[in-house]
């Protein structure tokens, strides 16, 4: 079983999967403040420093292997406790839409900070904020440039499929584990979470599934090969089929949704003996 499910799952809700446990999406709307309270610190601009975390990481990489391993131990431990994000395939993503409220479509902060994408139209949004914090987005117009489009679960599912078709990986975000407050649709390298994992071994956890190719059904068309963000899937010339490295696979399911012959299937990670503990 996934260690996050052990920590934050509920056997009676969401089949024990931690991100299908509705409790992990719950939060109060208000706080009793002293009269005349003025917000400060993180509350007045929590995302002001986003993207700058890498500065420290790069400095430690330059210091050498010992310093780096020490640092990496810390980030792995944080990820193990859920202080980061996890890849979720679209079939589970749809279930999440039913247990979170409210749901806001927003511009992606990583794409803004790292790639200068200035999204102003809701149809260009690639990020999702969940939970009551979304009702207070006007506190940070910098973050939610162009606004927040609050939608219902059906609209959210439709939007998820649109992002899936575009080729964005679905990954949920915790804000103080186990509280899940965001759902990214993104790609390497603009996504801080995906690049953090691939380049620094930090943060983003693999999903609960692993993609597997059915060689009888695979026609070798190569459509899936454009979709993998993790370097796990390639078109293998030798066998004239798609090949997925299960150890590199994050279980995002983008190859599965693109396959025209239904040759790719997502297998439950825990059902594959040597991948059970590979997150």
């Amino acid at each position: 079983m996934c260690h996050l499910c052990e920590l934050y799952g509920d056997a009676n809700a969401g089949e024990g999967i931690w991100y299908l446990n509705p409790k992990n999406y719950a939060r109060q709307m208000y706080r009793r403040r002293p009269p005349g309270y003025v917000p400060s610190g993180a509350e007045s601009g929590p995302e002001a420093g986003i993207g700058l975390g890498g500065l420290r990481t790069v400095g430690i990489m330059e210091q050498g292997l010992d310093a780096w391993l020490q640092y990496q131990k810390g980030i792995i431990e944080r990820a193990r406790r859920g202080g980061g994000s996890q890849v979720v395939p679209i079939k589970d993503a749809e279930k999440i839409m039913d247990i979170s409220s409210p749901i806001g479509l927003i511009a992606c902060i990583c794409r803004k900070v790292d790639r200068g994408v200035d999204e102003r139209a809701p149809e260009e949004y690639t990020c999702m904020g969940m939970g009551v914090g979304m009702l207070k987005w006007e506190r940070w117009p910098e973050r939610y440039k162009g606004g927040v489009h609050l939608v219902n679960p059906d609209e959210a599912k439709e939007w998820l499929w649109k992002c899936d078709r575009l080729g964005y990986v679905h990954a949920l975000m915790t804000f103080g584990a186990p509280y899940i407050g965001g759902f990214c649709q993104c790609e390497y390298p603009a996504c801080s979470a995906i690049r953090g994992r691939l380049d620094f071994g930090a943060g983003l956890l693999k999903g609960h599934y692993v993609a597997k190719v059915d060689y009888d059904k695979c026609t070798g068309c190569g459509v899936c090969a454009q979709r993998c963000q993790f370097g796990a899937l390639k078109f293998e010339v030798t066998v004239d089929k798609a090949n997925i490295d299960p150890f590199q696979c994050f279980g995002c399911g983008l190859c599965e949704t693109a396959c025209p012959t239904g040759a790719i299937e997502l297998k439950w990670r825990a059902s594959i003996p040597a991948l059970r503990e590979v997150w």
């Binding site: 208000y30 420093g49 131990k73 409220s101």
Partner: protein, 321 residues
């Protein structure tokens, strides 16, 4: 909780399979940005978009609440070469930078790109239109101070428990049960109706955004958040707590918890543990939730999932019918 052994084993396996091995122990290229020249990076964006290593970040500076920074004005954003480990000195950024603000140093060699015609980027930027976000009106997302002062004065737990202790003084057990049931049901009903009324009289921006969103998306969000707001107001104002722990809030359920309830404890102090253990005050909280849902025309069932005498906290679950 898992054993030490499993935990250690897992840590190791995770380290082994964690992505690629980063390059460590070598000096990466040093990248310097001349901020005198690079004045409007979020308007220009050229280097950010062209870099194959995606190593630049552009962050807003001096944020003002409720106002978007104008990317055309100097000093509103700052360019930082964050991920230097991804710099191969391909010089693409040097080529595109219109003001030659980037300098790369690698192994004692400096790279600056070719001299370009001098331009004032900020002056060019300011000629372009840019629709800035400005908050619709002065707003607060917090519960209004008036909500607390009005509700606490009328329904605060200290006052109500004293009234209760007075009402049941020198009464028999059977009388106490009958009087107490009515007392707390009346209290719960009046308390929540007043909280609902005060909440409508003092709307905050959180509530306005919620209602606007619900109108746009077929009513989604009204349940659980409209009752959640009133319930939070009622408890925050009258039970002396900073937050009301919300266990679940989605379109199917609203579950909240009152840990270490001060009302229950005050009854114990003022009327004795025996009276507190009759747990008549639970009628108050249950009636409050039921009344509120009825007033909001929401079809839902209210249940208690935890009680102060037994579990040490009260937990209420509202399930949509």
């Amino acid at each position: 909780m898992e054993s030490q052994h499993t935990s250690a084993k897992r840590g190791l396996v995770i380290a082994m399979v964690y992505g690629r091995l980063p390059t460590v122990g070598i000096k990466f290229p040093q990248i310097e940005i001349d901020h005198e020249k690079c004045t409007v990076p979020f308007w220009c964006k050229k280097c950010i978009q062209v870099c194959p290593g995606n190593l630049f970040s552009v962050n807003q500076q001096n944020e003002e609440r409720g106002k978007e920074n104008d990317p055309r004005l100097p000093g509103t954003y700052k360019l930082t070469p964050v991920r230097r480990d991804k710099c191969s000195v391909c010089e693409l950024c040097l080529e595109v930078c219109p003001v030659n603000a980037i300098k790369i140093t690698y192994l004692d060699q400096t790279y600056t790109g070719v001299e370009k015609e001098k331009i004032d980027l900020a002056a060019v930027a300011q000629k372009e239109p840019y629709p800035l976000f400005v908050a619709p009106r002065p707003y607060s997302f917090e519960m209004a101070d008036e909500v607390v002062s009005l509700l606490e004065g009328e329904y605060g737990y200290e006052k109500v428990t004293s009234q209760f202790a007075e009402a049941i003084a020198n009464k028999s057990k059977a009388e106490i049960e009958a009087i107490g049931k009515k007392f707390w049901e009346d209290y719960g009903r009046d308390w929540i109706k007043r909280a609902h009324q005060v909440g409508e009289e003092y709307p905050d921006r959180t509530y306005e955004v919620l209602l606007e969103a619900a109108d746009r998306s077929g009513g989604f969000g009204r349940f659980p958040h409209v009752p959640q707001r009133v319930i939070e107001f009622a408890y925050l104002s009258c039970m002396g707590v900073e937050t009301l722990p919300v266990i679940e809030n989605n379109q199917y359920r609203l579950i909240y918890k009152m840990p270490d309830c001060p009302t229950y404890k005050a009854i114990g102090e003022k009327a004795g543990a025996e009276v507190a253990n009759l747990f008549l005050c639970s009628r108050g909280c249950l009636t409050a939730a039921e009344t509120l849902l009825r007033d909001l025309n929401m079809d839902a069932l209210v249940e208690m999932e935890g009680t102060m005498p037994k579990e040490g906290f009260c937990q209420f679950a509202i399930r949509r019918g």
